[in-house]
Amino acid sequence: MSGGDRIATPAERVAAVERALTDEGRIEAGTLDGLAASAEQQFDWHNGARVVAKAWTDPTYKARLLADGTKACAELGFEGPQGEYIVVLENTPTLHNAVVCTQCSCTAWPVLGLPPDWYKAPAYRARLVRAPRGVLAEMGVELAADVRVRITDTTAETRFLVLPLRPAGTEDWSEEALAAIVTRESMIGVALLTV
């Protein structure tokens, strides 16, 4: 190799690729930063929180969401890459869902945002399917023994959103107030919501 013994840092590697693509006229200066900024704006887990809050407060929307997640998310403007086919997994008092991607780190970007580091780390990808209830308990999700635990591994093109249980004590809350208490972790299924 012409680069000598030292391994370039990831930052140096991106810079070299960007420079070479710019030199060859494939991109313009700022192209990559521009794409990164729009991705950061477009793929936001607060979108998912709005979907959840609407489903909690509007039974007909909830029915549409469970019947066709893709279309119901698009109703609110949440669509695009990694959101071409969204299935919503409803948590109930007797069934708890959580989502993982053991093979890479597939996630429903339009509603969950780009996935957080813990979701992409080997520990989560390896362990959740091996000991579903145990790993969830370790992460703070303590479930009664009669609650069934179902882990969904994102191995094909469907992307999943967990519809968490609406916490008790929020019966008269507005949709906006509800959206503010929904966390990304609850929509992946590794946290329970309380108020």
């Binding site: 190799m1 012409s2 590697r13 070299a16 990559l32 993982v100 780390a121 399917v129 635990v149 591994d153």
Partner: protein
């Protein structure tokens, strides 16, 4: 391939550390690495998403485990831009003044090794078994469900078959099935009763149980 990426069920990785209020990107280069891959797939159209996933899987295993997600993404994207002739490795290393590690070459798989399209279709409620055949190239059958039997929960629309798409073989599409496996079936431990794992599998990965 039985690659290092196929992590489901592996043990020894330690605790899961959740960072609260995590930013989308922790460092500027991570956003640019993400953008580079979007560019390579969606704008330059130099490679597809299945080729991308396979390029990441082809990283040397110690490099894969030691790298962050965005370093893996960067390595996959850079490898494919070089393999497809968009960029020249020597030029990149000359710019960087250092070595740029790429993923390993694709295995010499041939189209005959891809299992034929499925003869059978399945419906919600059907019991299905994951076929035992193991493709040496890109595939989306996790090791931990091979040969295991589960029940179809949901039938998704036809999507491009990754084993063919990642290797440039004749395109084909197949429905995928969300198949629920009892954890006791997967891991043989009675105390996992009441726990299950759903895996989303292309039709030709499955067969009717004997």
């Amino acid at each position: 391939m039985n690659g290092i990426h196929d992590l489901g069920g592996m043990e020894g990785f330690g605790a899961i550390d959740v960072e609260s209020d995590e930013p989308t990107f922790h460092e500027g280069w991570q956003g640019r690495a993400f953008a580079l891959n979007m560019l390579g797939i969606g704008i330059l159209r130099a490679y597809n998403a299945d080729e991308y996933r396979h390029a990441v899987e082809r990283m040397a295993p110690a490099h894969y485990l030691g790298a962050s997600y965005y370093e893996r993404m960067l390595t996959g994207a850079t490898t494919l831009l070089v393999e497809k002739g968009v960029l020249d490795l020597a030029t990149l290393e000359s710019i960087a003044g250092a070595t740029i590690p790429l993923a390993r070459a694709v295995a010499d798989v041939v189209e005959d090794e891809i299992v034929e399209p499925a003869a059978a279709s399945f419906a919600v409620g059907d019991r299905v078994r994951v076929r035992g055949v193991q493709f040496r190239g890109h595939t989306r059958v996790p090791r931990y469900v091979r040969g295991k039997t589960g029940v179809v929960l949901h039938v998704a629309p036809a999507f491009g078959h990754p084993d063919t798409s990642a290797h440039g073989f004749a395109a084909r599409s197949e429905p995928t099935y969300h198949v629920e496996f009892e954890a006791t079936e997967l891991w043989g431990e009675d105390d996992l009763a009441g726990e299950s794992v759903v895996v989303d599998l292309w039709e030709s990965y499955l067969e009717a149980p004997q």
